[in-house]
Amino acid sequence: MKRAFVMVLALAILATAAVSAPGQSKDTLTVALVSIIDTLDPHMHFERVGILININMFDSLLHKNAKLEYEPSLATSWKALSDTVWEVKLRKGVKFHNGDTMTAEDVKYSFDRVTEPGKEKKRSPQYGNIRAIKEVRIVNPDTIHIVTDKPFPLLLERLVFFPIVPKQHIEKVGDQAFGESATVGTGPWKLLEYKRGHHIRLEAFDQHWRGKPAFKHLTIRGIPEVATQVAELKTGGVDIIRNVSADLVPDLKAHPQTSISSAPILRTHYVHLDMRTEPFNRKLVRQAANYAIDREAIVQKMMAGLGRVVPTVVHPAVFGYDASVTPYAYDPKKAQALLAQAGYPNGVDITLHSSFVEFRPVFEAITQMLTDVGIRTNARMWDPGPAWNKYFQGEGKATHGYYGSWGYYSVFDADAILHPLYHTEPGGWVGKWYIRVEGLDQLVDQARSTVDQAVRKRTYSQIQRLIKEEAPSIFLFHQFDTLGVSKRVEYQARGDEWLWLFDARPKR
């Protein structure tokens, strides 16, 4: 018996010793994402991780460089012919991964594929992004006209992520195969192997018009656990991880193999206040709540400095931001005074909700700060699923408000947050339940229905002054995207949260 036991033990030890961790090949760049998308068809999903993968395999008409300036990509130039017609010149001689040359037909096909009516069941989830595009007209093989149904000031922003796909190829292999195995684009990397839910292997595309990326191979792995991602990064199993939280920053900075790269992103935090019910139907209470929060302390102490205070929900990096609007100061005394003036000298009891799991400590800090000035807050955390029912749907039933964030869908324009959050029309997002600000709808509509940027800028200034005064939300801060990067790789985090891996290069 003793012998059997010893043998089992010996076997177990042998099994572990016989194998060793696979080494990293030098020309391979490995990136970890929390999950791997279930189709590679770039028009058939709406997820951040999907976008991160697809931008490396597909090109769009326009590109944004690391400084987030527009750059030519498949389009070499673009100009507005009128309020509703844009002329776009296409790059000549661009090859798809299967050797075909990209033509104006492919560009037209790509847009039609998403906007074509009558395909309800198969309709792309990106339809909403570009539905303002009525038609793409081929003028000649190198020129197209993009016609919108009304002035569409966000067109260029939308064109930065709208992947161009090969018409003939898709018609030959079918949508299904295109999304699973026969994925072909014009981007810097082409598909080698795709294992759904697990990993994707890509290889540098020799004939890309930009030239070759610095790494020959790119592997993208799905690793759901942050602790596992960090362990992989430290041992060289992966080179880049995303969404590094503040508590991990010192550890990764100190480790000999890893470094941190951070960039301010559009994700803006706020507490939406329910303007329908007491006490937030009173402006003074909403202002008091804004004075009660020490935003700077939260950013510095709880987010390792990886964030910046915003005056309203409008982010400093977007079109329409007005720097002359200043954030609410941290002034608990004033908050108490305003609360008393509003008719609550003994304070008031409220409930706030959140499903923003990653920022739970921040949510708790906010509720504590509110409680300190007399807005005694009961904090409720929800899973994302039930949360949608609770405060985004139906009648927006959550009482008093919720803490959340908005990522602008990476669109650098004030409209991308003002319309979804504050517009009260039925087609809007949550505004219709929570927001009761006189005249705000008209201003938002006015700004989105002209392409005259000077007029839009003026309107957005007006909106920012209005919402700061009316305080439909507690305005907080925007966060940073923090990457953990292996010391053998040079790569800088981007303000749009993209992983544009063409820019990555080996160090040493």
Binding site: A4, T16, S20, R196, R221, G222, G385, Q393
Partner: protein
Amino acid sequence: MTALLVRRVIRLLVVCLGVSLVTFSILHASGDPVSLVMPEAPEADRVVLRQALGLDDPLAIQFLRFFGNVATGNFGNSFFHRTPALPLVLERMPATLTLTVLAMALALAVAVPVGIYSAVRRNSLVDHVATVVVFLGQSMPVFWTGIMLILLFAVQWRVLPVSGWESWSAVVLPAITLGTFSAPLLLRIVRSSMLEVVHLDYVRTARAKGVSEWVVILRHALKNAALPLVTVAGLQFGLLLGGAVITESVFAVPGVGRLIVSSIRQLDFPVVQAAVFFLAMIIVAVNFVVDMLYIYLNPQIRVR
């Protein structure tokens, strides 16, 4: 024997019906998947998608449709991936089953010999050490064990990969993690049931007849002590499938567990239903095997 088989198959169908009813109700009570599929899209677009997915129909109709489809082996399309749910589940089954079976084998490989030894040499050093290890093993949550093993074997000693599923070496840590979860209970069962039988008359008789100690323990005692072990091992298999959900996440194993977790998060009803349905079938099948083993080990049951 045939009657028993038929009864078992009927039970299997009833369990499957119950499982799907429960999954269906819980999921549909938990929120609207469309908002999670396209979170930053305007309401108008979401209305279109909701209609397309049939989420506007009354719940009863949705359930009938679901059940009608399941009867024909069709679990519907995933809301999120827009592809049939069943293949999504089936392609992840091998990883989960490999992991679970290996973990079970590992747990048994440790639990049975150590359990027998502890019982036979009661209060020996091995027995005491085993008791302590059992205590530790049972108090560690699966994800913690996993992360500790990663830190030790992959980060510190670098003898095994951190995560993945490419090579056999990548299977070792998740299997140990999951096995550690199961081994303690099995060990205790083996030990206590062996202790019960080693003092029974027939064992003493066998010894008195001069049968060697090995044969007494393995052939006479173990065969009877194995009954509770088989029962518990069967139950454990179901628990291991559950434990695989967490283990798969920690080790980035492309299995059903991970699929279920992400699908629940996205309220992707068809995928969750298909996956839970399949796991339930496996558990029922394992129970069936356990019943059959019982009959082999204890012929009295057949008579009853």
